[in-house]
């Protein structure tokens, strides 16, 4: 196991290095000198020279990269071009919000997909199976932001059950915070839920065809017990991987969800900084997203290795 973890960690290092190079180039591939972006088009040459020296832009690129990486590793992500705030502080405040929506979406996705998959398997080839299949196919095609609009219209404007948008921290007012998180979580979960439901249905059917299921049936277990107690337990193992792979969809979808529901998360921070050309923040938000994504994938692989011994020695 230690060797497996070791080899996966070693594989992740070149990817993280190249990711950092790619993110570093965001500022340098952008047309226009960052100094001009900072100072505006009417900057005087002396000012530009000063700023360039201050930011280290007059040094060779590899040196700039090395300086940048050593700062990033120490948690210094620079300052916002727009308001001069340290970027790390902006991200610190934004991450918990994105994390809450993502966890909310994960829970909703599981709560929708697992019963749906069980239902389709229990009633396979009946109208229940077909109806659920059609629902899943449509849900997969529905863009997050359309779902969000429909939810806001029905649940807050027509029925007035939930507040349409906004954010309150969990510590401040837990009840209101959860009410505000509900619609974003549903909107974000739908795509992943449909992938998950379809996948789980396929693995459940696969498990039901196995020998141990025949044994369980042969010893007279009720079909329900066979399905829920035996097959489901085994079918849930690969779900870990699917959830890990779908994590990118969650992070991407969070941008759109946060934009609609006015949640001050990383996605919204990234969106605002892209629109205002605040490249220091763009760079940092993209870097953090990619690093988190790579680590989640790594973790998923390790979990899978832990759950399924065949992977470790393969």
């Amino acid at each position: 196991m230690a060797r497996y973890i070791g080899s996966r960690l070693v594989q992740a290092i070149p990817v993280l290095f190249l990711v950092s190079v790619a993110v570093f180039s965001i500022i340098h591939l952008t047309p226009g000198d960052p100094a001009y972006v900072l100072l505006g088009p009417n900057a005087l040459p002396d000012q530009v020279k000063e700023i360039r020296a201050e930011l280290g832009l007059d040094r060779p690129l590899p040196v700039q990269y090395a300086v940048w990486v050593s700062r990033v590793v120490r948690g210094d992500l620079g300052r916002s071009y727009l308001n001069g705030f340290p970027v790390i502080g902006l991200l610190d405040r934004a991450w918990p919000v994105t994390l809450q929506v993502t966890i909310g979406a994960l829970l909703v996705a599981l709560a929708v997909a697992v019963p749906l998959a069980l239902l389709t398997v229990r009633f396979r080839r009946t109208w229940v199976d077909h109806a659920a299949g059609a629902f899943v196919a449509v849900a997969y095609g529905m863009p997050t932001f359309w779902v969000a609009i429909l939810l806001v219209f029905v649940l807050s404007i027509r029925l007035r059950w939930l507040p349409p948008s906004g954010y309150v921290s969990l510590g401040q007012d837990p009840g209101q915070a959860l009410r505000l998180l509900l619609m974003p979580s549903i909107a974000l979960s739908l795509g992943v839920a449909s992938v998950l439901a379809r996948f789980l249905r396929a693995t459940l059917l696969e498990e039901l065809a196995r020998e141990y299921v025949r044994t369980a049936r042969a010893k007279g277990l009720a079909e329900r017990a066979v399905l829920y107690r035996h097959a489901t337990r085994n079918a849930l193992v690969p779900v870990v991987t699917v959830l890990g792979m779908q994590f990118g969809a969650f992070m991407g979808g969070a941008v759109l969800t946060e934009a609609i529901f006015g949640l001050p998360g990383v996605g919204r921070l990234l969106w605002n900084s892209v629109l205002s050309r605040d490249y220091a923040v763009v760079q940092a938000a993209v870097l953090v997203s990619a690093v988190v994504f790579v680590l989640i994938n790594l973790l998923t692989d390790l979990c899978y290795g832990l759950l399924d011994p065949r992977i470790r020695y393969g």
């Binding site: 990817v15 990711v19 529905m142 609009i149 941008v255």
Partner: protein
């Protein structure tokens, strides 16, 4: 879904697409539904000029945010423009971006995959690490980063969507090439003195295309959503040009006054993605029965 695509890539070779394949897909209910739905949407946006009752940019100041009526079947937007006409014209952008970006990505990905799988050694390492880097970013976040560098426009959105769609084609082709390379017909080609490029393009490539064709339809559905997402965020198609994503964004601020505004662009978007996914499922079904 993914496992079945990879399965056909790494396992036995599926038959190459020939005439009659379309017929086979058409005979599956999913394939037929997919073709019908997608065909309807493609036709309606191509024929937008004939079908649209108004111009997509035509303003009617006296009828701002009107609910659906006989004159304006889908209602009007905040500037009094006909939403039906804008939805029809907006489909062109979605389709064009999806089509062109996925085509670019497929060509680039297949070439990279062929190089990686056939030439091997450090080419393989370099190309695959590069693909890993693209995959290390959540797709829309990478697309946003690219657009932020190049500036928001539908052409740049197309480019960004193409970049994020390349790795899946490269990986797919690479694994297919690795499986095909060891087969006897490739050895035979070498034995009769065929050159490297000839072997790759004339003998290996045709046998690796089936999973690529399936992936094209899957990727197109994804590209439609990605383009709409970018336009929704104001980073894709720019106003006043109509696009479904941008219409949904504006609609989200008029939910109280005009709830119908966002309904139709979203419906068309969902229908297009659904149609493309059904086609890909139809293709997979048609091939898996014969493989």
């Amino acid at each position: 879904m993914v496992s079945s695509i990879l399965g056909s890539a790494t396992g036995r070779p599926a038959p190459p697409p020939r005439a009659g394949v379309l017929g086979r897909i058409w005979r599956r209910p999913r394939g037929a539904a997919g073709f019908a739905l997608t065909g309807l949407l493609v036709a309606s946006s191509l024929l937008a000029q004939l079908l649209a009752p108004h111009g997509p940019l035509e303003l009617a100041k006296e009828s701002v945010l009107q609910p659906p009526s006989w004159t304006f079947p889908f209602g009007t937007d905040e500037l009094g423009r006909d939403i039906l006409s804008r939805v029809l014209y907006g489909g062109r952008v979605s389709l064009l971006v999806a089509f062109v970006s996925v085509l670019l990505a497929a060509v680039a990905g297949v070439v990279l995959g062929l190089a990686s799988g056939y030439v091997g050694r450090w080419w393989d390492v370099a190309i695959m690490r590069l693909m890993d880097v693209v995959l290390a970013f959540p797709a829309i976040i990478l697309a946003m980063a690219i657009v932020s560098m190049l500036g928001p426009s539908s052409a740049n959105a197309m480019f960004a969507v193409a970049i994020v769609s390349i790795p899946v084609f490269a990986r797919l082709t690479r694994s297919a090439v690795l499986a095909e390379k060891e087969r006897e017909y490739v050895e035979a080609a070498h034995a009769i003195g065929a050159s490297g490029p000839y072997t790759v393009f004339r003998t290996i490539l045709p046998n690796t295309l089936t999973p690529v064709v399936v992936q094209v339809t899957v990727s197109m559905g994804y590209a439609v959503l990605l383009e709409a997402g970018l336009s929704f965020l104001g980073l894709g198609t720019q106003p006043p040009q109509p696009s479904w994503g941008a219409m949904l964004f504006t609609a989200s601020s008029y939910l109280n006054q005009a709830p119908w505004y966002g309904f139709f662009p979203g419906l068309f978007l969902t229908a297009l993605v659904l149609g493309l996914n059904l086609i890909s499922e139809g293709i997979q079904e048609a091939f898996s029965r014969t493989a």
